[in-house]
Amino acid sequence: MALPAARKMSSGMSAGESIYLVEMLKGLALTMTHIIKNIFDQDRFRTVEYPDVRKSMTERYRGAHRLLLRPDGKVKCVACMCCPTICPAKCITIIAGEDPNDAAEKFPVEFDIDMLRCIFCGFCVEACPKDAIRMDTRIYEINAYTRQAMVHNKTYMVNLMDGLKPPAEEFYRANPDNAPAGFAGDEPAVPVGQPFVNLAAGAEASGAGRAR
């Protein structure tokens, strides 16, 4: 089989362009125009000087999730599992329980969203049949020093509704009873360089290693 004939590489440039110099000067002129404009009118910049100036998000901005309450003060959520099912990041963990005194029968004993995993797609809001979860807080500063504090739990997300906006870490420190498991105040719960779970010990401790 014959090799394909060597093709002359064509740059597609005209003679004038192939000298580069003229085109170069054109480019330099363009960039210089920007510089001069920007020096004399610094308000042209669209940059938001973030920690000092904060952008206010639109109504439709998807921020941190909050859980809504019914008029009687209980969470609207009935643990139907639509949101963990639709969640593409698999960041929602709900443990359902039965409330014998409530007509809704089912309620979330635990409702955790791992904000480290969340991709803020808003599918959970779309999927909810009870309008129990919304992302309309417009909170976009979600950060913490530990992985545990990045888990927003039921109590925290319910409290976000009151316009209360402490970082989860602060909230958990103030309400240690409502902090997620493993959240330990100031120190990282898992020392750096340690494996997350001691698999051998963990399996022995929790029976078959997969306790419910």
Partner: protein, 453 residues
């Protein structure tokens, strides 16, 4: 041992310190200019967060932060490198860059001493030789890193530098022909006086300048010829394995090379330390007038102060909470600019009083020191020379930055194509053209035709 015995050594030491300090002072400024220029070209504010007691100095403090950061960072020595050569590479790169500077004249003679580090006869040849050495730093870094990306970066750098050094040397030959000397001092002196004495304003000089300047981009590994560190394909190129101060040395060497390339170009093609239409002799003669002229800058500073005052109204300052250190920033700048204006007016008054032409050690010490040799005019000439050269260097460096943020990177085959197939023939032809031209107009076109110098 008398003072006169020690003096030559002191002078030599002073020259070296001056050359190093000169380059090292421009470096942070260039880094700042690179960032701010890039930002302004791209319609964003650029570095403006770091501050010292609320003074951000338009982002200059970031460079200070960088220095601290680079010093504090862990110096990682990867296990697979050839330690000795690997450690030597950044030192070579930086010291070669600084070495090149020793033959560049900063001004006309000061009290009989040349204003350059060493009066090497080779002059320009030394520059070419030293920049040729520069490739060793990059090559060693690439090879000693023992890493295929670094090696490729080093290979690219050496191939590219070798290719472009030819055109660069041939362009310099044109200047030799015109000046009849390889000494940079002589070349600078030759260009004193009228602006058309500058080499760049001769036909072959202009072509030589374009070729030399383009080759300088390749020699300094700057965009559009920064293929040795093409991060898209080579991670970091030859400095992939370097961190902390070793990386900083490479980083600074790049800027030092820019300064050197600009200073050599300024000297070869743009009259060096000479102001157009004013020879050093004229400067000496009218030193007082020069001082008085400095006062003309005062209104500019006042205008700057006015602008700085207006910045208080910007939304950024309006949004700051009361008590933020940055709130006093505009007033500090107003003070600085007004101070500069007052200083310049003062210099003007000094000129008007004719101080420059009386300046001697005897004069300064109110008669206590005996030396009555007047060095005022020489000092003014030297300062003007250094300032003019610095201005030309800064413009050259700015041009490097400007080009970097304007054009994209060449492809490697395009780079080689340009170097060998276009620039080299052009440079050769230009040398022949220059030889013929110089034979017909030995002292330059205008001088030859009109007989003026």
């Amino acid at each position: 041992m008398t003072f006169d015995d020690v003096l030559p050594y002191l002078v030599a030491l002073g020259r070296c310190v001056f050359a190093v300090v000169f380059v090292m002072q421009i470096l942070p400024l260039l880094i700042w200019a690179e960032r701010k220029g890039a930002a302004y070209i791209q319609d964003r504010p650029g570095p403006n967060r770091a501050h010292v007691m609320g003074i951000r100095a338009a982002g200059l403090v970031h460079t200070l932060n960088d220095v601290v950061k680079l010093i504090m960072k862990e110096d990682i020595v990867p296990g697979h490198v050839e330690k000795r050569y690997w450690a030597a590479a950044p030192v070579i790169a930086m010291s070669v860059a600084l070495c090149t500077f020793i033959v560049v004249p900063f001004g006309d003679n000061f009290m009989g001493y040349q204003l350059k580090v060493s009066d090497i006869d080779g002059g320009l040849l030394f520059v070419l030789a030293a920049t040729g050495m520069g490739v060793y730093g990059v090559m060693l870094a690439g090879w000693a890193s023992n890493n295929k990306f670094s090696l490729l970066g080093g290979l690219r750098a050496s191939a590219q530098m070798v290719s472009y050094e030819l055109s660069m040397g041939l362009s310099a030959v044109v200047v030799f022909l015109i000046a009849g000397s390889v000494s940079l001092s002589a070349i600078a002196e030759m260009q004193a006086g009228a602006i058309w004495n500058w080499t760049v304003f001769t036909p072959m000089g202009f072509i030589a300048f374009v070729l030399f300047w383009t080759a300088a981009f390749a020699e300094t590994n700057r965009t559009p010829f920064d293929l040795p560190e093409g991060e898209a394909e080579l991670v970091g190129g030859y400095h992939t394995e370097y961190s902390s101060l070793r990386f900083a040395l490479f980083f600074m060497a790049e800027y030092a090379n820019m300064i050197v390339a600009s200073s050599v170009t300024a000297t070869l093609f743009f009259g060096g330390y000479n102001l157009p239409f004013v020879t050093p002799a004229q400067l000496r003669e009218h030193a007082d007038w020069v001082l008085m002229a400095a006062a003309l800058a005062a209104p500019t500073f006042v205008y700057f102060a006015y602008e700085a005052n207006k910045r208080k109204q910007r939304p950024f300052y309006q949004a700051l909470p009361a008590g933020d250190a940055r709130l006093k920033e505009p007033m500090v700048f107003v003070g600085l600019w007004l101070g500069a204006a007052v200083a310049h007016v003062g210099i003007g008054i000094a000129g008007a009083l004719g101080l420059a032409s009386k300046l001697s050690l005897n004069f300064i010490s109110f008669g206590y020191l005996e030396s009555t040799a007047v060095f005022g005019p020489d000092l003014v000439t030297a300062i003007v020379g250094i300032t003019v050269l610095a201005a030309k260097i800064l413009f050259g460096c700015w041009f490097f930055i400007w080009v970097r943020w304007t054009v994209p990177r060449f492809r490697y085959d395009q780079l080689m194509d340009l170097g060998w197939k276009r620039m080299l023939p052009l440079a050769l032809g230009n040398v022949m053209f220059a030889a013929i031209w110089v034979a017909f107009f030995p002292t330059g076109l205008i001088s030859t035709l009109f007989g003026s110098k």
